[in-house]
Amino acid sequence: MDLHNLNPSSLKSRFTTRFLRALTEINARKPIASSSSPREIFQRYRRIKDAADTSMAYSVRSRRTWSKATLWRLRTPSHRRRLASFGRRSSLNKTRTTTTASHRGAVVVQITSRGGGLGVQLEELRELVPGGEAMDLCNLLDETAHYIKCLTTQVQVMRTIANLYSLE
């Protein structure tokens, strides 16, 4: 982070403003009591995490596949999502993998190694990067680069916020 005047429309500033707004809104909705149950804290944590992801994806404006996938994931309810993703995966990954989505968290993937022995890692990368299931290696690397850049920005901003909060 540099100390000079930052570009007001840079990724970082866009994310910051959006995230702060969401954060204040979450805090206003349910202020932390000293005796919050872990469940409440967990809910809060989920909300904050979703807010962070959404605000980051919004700042990118669905110019990128991963941001579109993130927004879509956070918007559609899970049952509709499961059906849609099942159809999408089976149609798009015919050549590469055979997936049986039994449970949202436990997807069994049989990898048919395509070429070069990079199959396993490619699949992992695809799972990590949102929306990466349907992309070839070239575009996937592009998306990964942009995703890493946005993640680092996100982490920086959130860390600073957390530090400032805890200072007060």
Partner: protein
């Protein structure tokens, strides 16, 4: 009548209406689908008058054609002017290059086709080319050769390159031009020919019809070199191939020319794969710069491993920080947005981390062990320590130690991060 001719033929210019001569009618009937430039039409008038037109009229036509760069295919000779009505249409379309008369005379077939050639202005070349491809392919080579002669008499192309080269103005055939140029080059520089034929990927359909006769040409002329395709030396250039050969500026192209490297296969498949591989390796290099500590790593597999690890760690950090934010509540609920945004944007990571990490470490220690195994139920066990303020009195000693550590190694604090520092602290 001239207006009728206009409608029939589809001329774009109103000045044809001014041509009221009877001789114009056969012209209008003969020439189909042509678009003529206005300045040509203006020259129609003096032609009505007399034969000495030729002497006086050529100069304006010549200068005109040079400025307009029309296709000149002159079928007219002085002697044959009276024979048919073809000559008039030829002249009307800006025929120049009188030196080529003799050539054209010998090819009666060519005379028929010629009227369809000229008339560029803003004309569409593909319309012109398609009638050209209709005749037998054997004729095609000859026919294609001529217009380029007439056109480029000032451009100075000696080779019999195809008529595609003439459209300096017409960008639509630019793809075909480059192809033509390359095939033209092939005739002189024989070893490269097959490479060029293989390498170019023409996506523009308007160039297709131009391509077909050329390809046939190329194949006919050099069947031997096709076998010797494994290339002699050339430099690699992923560039637009020079249209400078044809005297054009950079034509608008929507594909990439790739040259085969020395000693490498020139199969179109392998070339495409090589392009793809180079793109991938370029992106891997970029990723190498993004991911810290990957300078020494060579090899895609290891690099991918590192990338995966890094993305995973970043995602975990986001989760961890959001958990922290969920617990560490700002006491002041004023308009934090304005205050914090500036601070966040302008503050240095190091200084904030130094000061903030003391209590943060304490409050986050409990749930670091909870989060990294990915199980949230770790929290209830550490619940009593959550509110940041009360435990600090108990942990003051630790705080002082931590702050000291922080002040000592302030640049290193950021690098510790929640992952590194806490794990070591545990």
């Amino acid at each position: 009548m001239a207006s009728g001719g206009n409608d029939d033929v589809g001329f774009k210019h109103q000045s044809l209406m001014n041509c009221s001569s009877s001789e114009m009618n056969p012209l209008c009937d003969k020439v189909d689908g042509m678009s003529m430039s206005s300045s040509i039409c203006m020259y129609n008038k003096p032609w009505n008058s007399s034969d000495p037109f030729f002497g006086s009229g050529w100069d304006p036509i010549a200068s005109l054609s040079q400025s307009e760069s029309l296709v000149g295919s002159s079928v007219v000779s002085h002697g044959e002017f009276a024979n048919s009505h073809y000559p008039l249409p030829m002249e009307n379309q800006g025929i120049f290059g009188t030196s080529h008369f003799s050539q054209y005379q010998s090819n009666p077939r060519f005379v028929e086709l010629v009227p369809k050639l000229p008339g560029f202005g803003s004309g569409n070349f593909s319309e012109m080319v398609s009638p050209m491809t209709l005749p037998q392919s054997s004729q095609v080579a000859n026919i294609q050769g001529f217009p380029s002669y007439s056109l480029n008499h000032d451009g100075g192309i000696e080779r019999a390159s195809t008529n595609c080269t003439q459209s300096r103005e017409d960008r639509q055939i630019s793809d075909g031009v480059v192809g033509a140029a390359s095939n033209g080059k092939c005739r002189k520089r024989v070893p490269e020919s097959s490479q060029n034929a293989d390498v170019e990927r023409q996506k523009d359909p308007s160039g297709e019809s131009c391509d077909v006769p050329k390809r046939q040409d190329a194949k006919k002329l050099k069947t031997k070199q096709e076998s010797g395709a494994n290339s002699r030396g050339k430099q690699v250039a992923k560039q637009v191939k020079d249209g400078s050969q044809t005297g054009e500026g950079a034509p608008k192209e929507n594909y990439i020319h790739v040259r085969a490297r020395r000693g490498q296969a020139t199969n179109s498949h392998s070339l495409a794969e090589r392009v793809r591989r180079e793109k991938i390796s370029e992106r891997m290099r970029f990723l190498q710069e993004l991911v810290p500590g990957c300078n020494k790593i060579t090899g895609k597999a290891v690099m991918l491993d590192e990338i995966i690890n890094y993305v995973q760690s970043l995602q975990r950090q986001v989760e961890f920080l959001s958990m922290k934010l969920a617990t560490v509540n700002p006491e002041l609920n004023i308009d934090l947005e304005r205050i914090l945004s500036k601070d966040i944007l302008y503050s240095r990571g190091g200084s904030a981390a130094v000061l903030g990490i003391g209590p943060a470490i304490n409050s986050s220690c409990p749930f670091s062990s909870g989060i990294f195994p990915g199980t949230i139920p770790g929290i209830p066990s550490t619940n009593p320590q959550f509110p940041p303020l009360p435990p600090q009195t108990v942990l003051d000693n630790e705080l002082r130690n931590i702050l000291q550590m922080g002040f000592d190694s302030s640049p290193g604090m950021d690098s510790l991060g929640p992952n590194g520092g806490l794990k070591s602290g545990l």
